[in-house]
Amino acid sequence: MSLTLAKVEEIAPDQGSLSAARKLLNPRSWPVVAGSDAGLVWGECQGSGSQPYRVVISETDLGYKCTCPSRKFPCKHALALMWMRAEGRAIDTQPQPDWVNDWLARRRGPGTGRPAPDKADARSKVSIDAALEQESPAPDPKAQARAAAQRERNRAEREAAILAGMEELDLWILDQLERGLASFQSVAREQCGLAARRLVDAKASGLASRIEQLPATLFGLPEALRTDFLIEKLGELHLIAEAYRRQAELPEALKADLRLMVGWTMTREELLSEPQAPRVRDRWMVLAATQEIQPDKLRRIETWLTRLSDADGPRFAVLMDFVPVSVGAIGKTYSAGETLEAELVFYPSSAQLRAIIAQQFGSVTREGRWQAPPDDVAGALDRYEASLGARPWLGEWPIAVRNAVVGGSSDDLVLSDSKAALPIKSKEDDALLPLVGVSGIDAFGLWDGRRLDLKFAETPLGRWLPG
């Protein structure tokens, strides 16, 4: 997709960055601006320092890099370069300089593997890398064995710590049950904080995070839903603890999912090299892009994708990125309605959803109307229940419904068809209200078992997106 000003606006972290970028549009600020046929644009922007900042952007996937010390992403220099590109300013095509190639080689973005070195260049060029490679000592098998043994000891210690943490978790839940969940609400923050800290000590950070978020979710619910929510969530915690203790008996996919959820991690490289991880190449449409700050001061960026073909396999995927809040504002990389052809690798799970982009093919484009899979409300609930059966600690799950209508009063809306209805989570800005009475809606949202968080809808009036 060629860059547009609207896209630049979307990706900008805040108005200040845009205004600052606007001031950099003057060609005199850019002693060097060039591009390549591969969708890369780079330039040197004269800042306050003696050396100009080096900026490179990739039009294909909106990747960017700038050498300035800004804590905004993208910074004003990258935004200015995107802006110039969006305005269609003439940019010379030139061979990529080394610093651009370096960036390309280092980045982990979709579709950007390390470029194959030019063989002639590789022979003729003298480089520090090559010197280091030559000088690196041969691996010592004994040292490797010691390191492996140490890793195994650490792993065993962590397993033991987590198991002990699970026992403590059970005791904590039993305490809450004895005191009664009716009184739990008044001490939820304190008690959940305590339990979360113990789980962090027990090296079960994923589970700790789950408990830490519980009070915020609880108090965000209407009173009428809180009892069921507490029973479900505390019951689920015991279920996880019990499953962890008996993980050897679980199917591989469910076990892998459980371990990830408890706090074990799988790096991108590990996932890409995992032979059992499902890979799906298809065209995907972005249906929602959300950002949320977690209690652990990480910004969780979720990009929800739907598969545009009706082939077998997962219908939806979510890309998750975590960025420390301290790095500042982050713009959106993808926005609803964009499509891309990509190979996604799914994390192992009995209900596959979380994925990463292994490779992107071509640019991001915008296509016309999205048509939801041919499910009515009941059919969508059937799918949800099947996923819940496969993964009992299922969180929010994507639901798509075709040909539905939104009805009800302003604070009690439902998405329905002739047979069933799903309560909709209300939005603070009332953005849902204009949907009321519009029939023939293809809707996408996240279902938490009680309420649907509507994220995307195609309607006879056009596309609806939350404010």
């Binding site: 039993l174 969940l181 689920e236 229940e385 009805g407 009800g408 949907l435 009036l461």
Partner: protein
């Protein structure tokens, strides 16, 4: 196994506390959970929770789903939506400048409404201009209003004598103002008929609407309003009476004005009368023009001349040396629709009298094209007026300038100087976007060409609003 009664008992137990009321695990789950299992309560909780998660929503589909914001108007073209959002919401949005007014006015003229899905994102714009944006915008802006909240009038798309009492206050005022132009007596009778039952803010706008086509026949009604319970209404009625020739208030104001005029003679060879305003001691020098315009601007030009026992031409000639008095005369000429005289005064000495006119709330511009042609002479300007004044000009006209006047603007030295001074960063984007609202459709292309030389931070909003207005006007 887990029937409704068991669920209820288990739920009550976990809510009250298993320490007070033991969970009946055996009864609920039979042999599934061993009675001596130390974690029986936990297992029961997990199963109860999972059971709950598989329970489908009880809520049935609503019987009917009627739109909450119905509207007969057509929706703005799709191409206008991104422009509306970028101009009037979010990061760069401003809903109080001339751009917002011009967009709302253009939509009102074309009888267009916002896309329903944009109502939330354009919340501030909708709130500020709901009366121009149609029934859906009004309903949206009142969605949180309760029955006890005042000012919950409905929007009437086509207002007439049968439904005008149900309309929004601004709509009702516009209706009365329009009717006053053709049938002043009928309009006043309609106002009289409902006046007593209206709330003070509505009474105020209705009284102000009577300023159109004011005549001595209105005096009895206006006299009655001097005893209204709302001070704002009394004040407005008094203001109208002061503009009514023959009323005691008008006579009093005229006398006050005349008492402030110093008559002298001027000229060496040929003596002629000279008039000069004498200001109260409390009025500072910088306050003089505002004071003079607000105090004497509404006096009828004929009465003023008669009071001075001069003809109008003689008064104009006699005020030649007093800049502020000339401005007052220009204002009076504007009120009397003497556009020939207004143009003469502006060309000869009161070049910026328009500023006083657009700044005064109680001065009406009845015929904007004729007034603009007479009052705005860009060729005489040494430099462009600031963006605030140009915004006020649009707000007073509520339409672009007539094409010949706008042509003179684009050709004027003041405008070209402004375009040329961008290197020093003197002008602001808001200046250019305001000018864009004042230029009629036929001259937008020449303006675009002129703005093309500016940097994007200066011209982006102006170019966007012109594109938007083009789309709306072509719809």
């Amino acid at each position: 196994m887990l029937d409704a009664a068991a669920i209820e008992t288990l739920t009550r137990s976990v809510m009250l506390g298993t320490g007070r009321q033991a969970a009946p695990v055996q009864k609920a789950f039979g042999g599934l959970i061993a009675s001596d299992d130390p974690k029986a309560a936990l297992k029961a909780l997990a199963l109860l929770g999972q059971h709950s998660r598989f329970r489908r929503p009880a809520r049935a589909a609503p019987d009917s789903a009627e739109p909450l914001f119905p509207d007969e108007r057509a929706i703005v073209p799709e191409a206008a939506r991104p422009l509306l959002r970028s101009l009037l919401s979010g990061r760069s949005g401003d809903v109080t400048d001339a751009v917002a007014l011009a967009v709302a006015d253009a939509m009102e003229r074309r009888r267009l409404r916002l896309h329903p899905f944009d109502l939330a994102r354009l919340e501030d714009f909708v709130k500020a201009h709901a009366d121009q944006l149609g029934a859906s915008a009004v309903a949206w802006s009142q969605r949180h209003a309760t029955t006890t909240t005042p000012d919950t009038y409905s929007f009437v798309e086509t207002i007439d004598e049968t439904n005008w009492t149900r309309g929004r206050p601004a709509q009702r005022a516009a209706f009365i103002r329009g009717l006053r132009a053709t049938d002043a007596t009928r309009a006043r009778a309609l106002v009289e008929g409902v006046f007593a039952s209206e709330q003070a803010p509505v009474r105020l706008v209705l009284v102000k609407a009577l300023s159109e086509n004011l005549s001595p026949a209105d005096q009895p009604f206006l006299d009655g309003l001097l005893k209204d319970r709302a001070p704002t209404v009394r004040e407005a009625a008094e203001g109208l009476l002061a503009r009514l020739p023959g009323s005691p208030q008008a006579a009093k104001q005229l006398q006050e004005c005349l008492s402030r005029i110093k008559r002298t003679s001027a000229g060496v060879l040929r003596r002629r009368a000279a008039l000069q305003l004498d200001y109260p001691a409390t009025i500072k020098e910088w306050q003089r023009e505002d004071w003079a315009v607000s105090t004497f601007g509404t006096i009828a030009l004929d009465d003023f001349a008669k009071g001075l026992e001069l003809s109008i031409d003689e008064v104009v000639a006699a005020a030649a040396d007093d800049q502020i008095l000339s401005t007052v005369l220009a204002v009076q000429a504007s009120q009397a629709r003497r556009y020939d005289l207004l143009a003469r005064l502006v060309r000869e000495r009161a070049t910026h009298a328009w500023i006083a006119m657009v700044g005064a709330d109680d001065l009406d511009i009845v015929d904007p094209p004729a007034w603009s042609a007479a009052a705005i002479h860009f060729d005489l300007w040494t430099e462009m007026a600031g963006p605030t004044l140009m915004m006020r000009l649009y707000a007073k006209l509520r339409s672009p300038l007539p094409a010949p006047t706008a042509e003179r603007l684009l050709a004027s030295k003041a405008w070209r100087d402004l375009l040329g001074r961008t290197e020093q960063n003197v002008p602001t984007p808001i200046m250019f976007s305001t000018i864009a609202t004042l230029v009629p459709q036929a001259l937008r292309d020449p303006l675009r060409k002129q703005l093309a030389s500016l940097s994007a931070d200066l011209n982006a909003r102006a170019l966007a609003v012109m594109s938007l207005l083009d789309i709306i006007e072509a719809a």
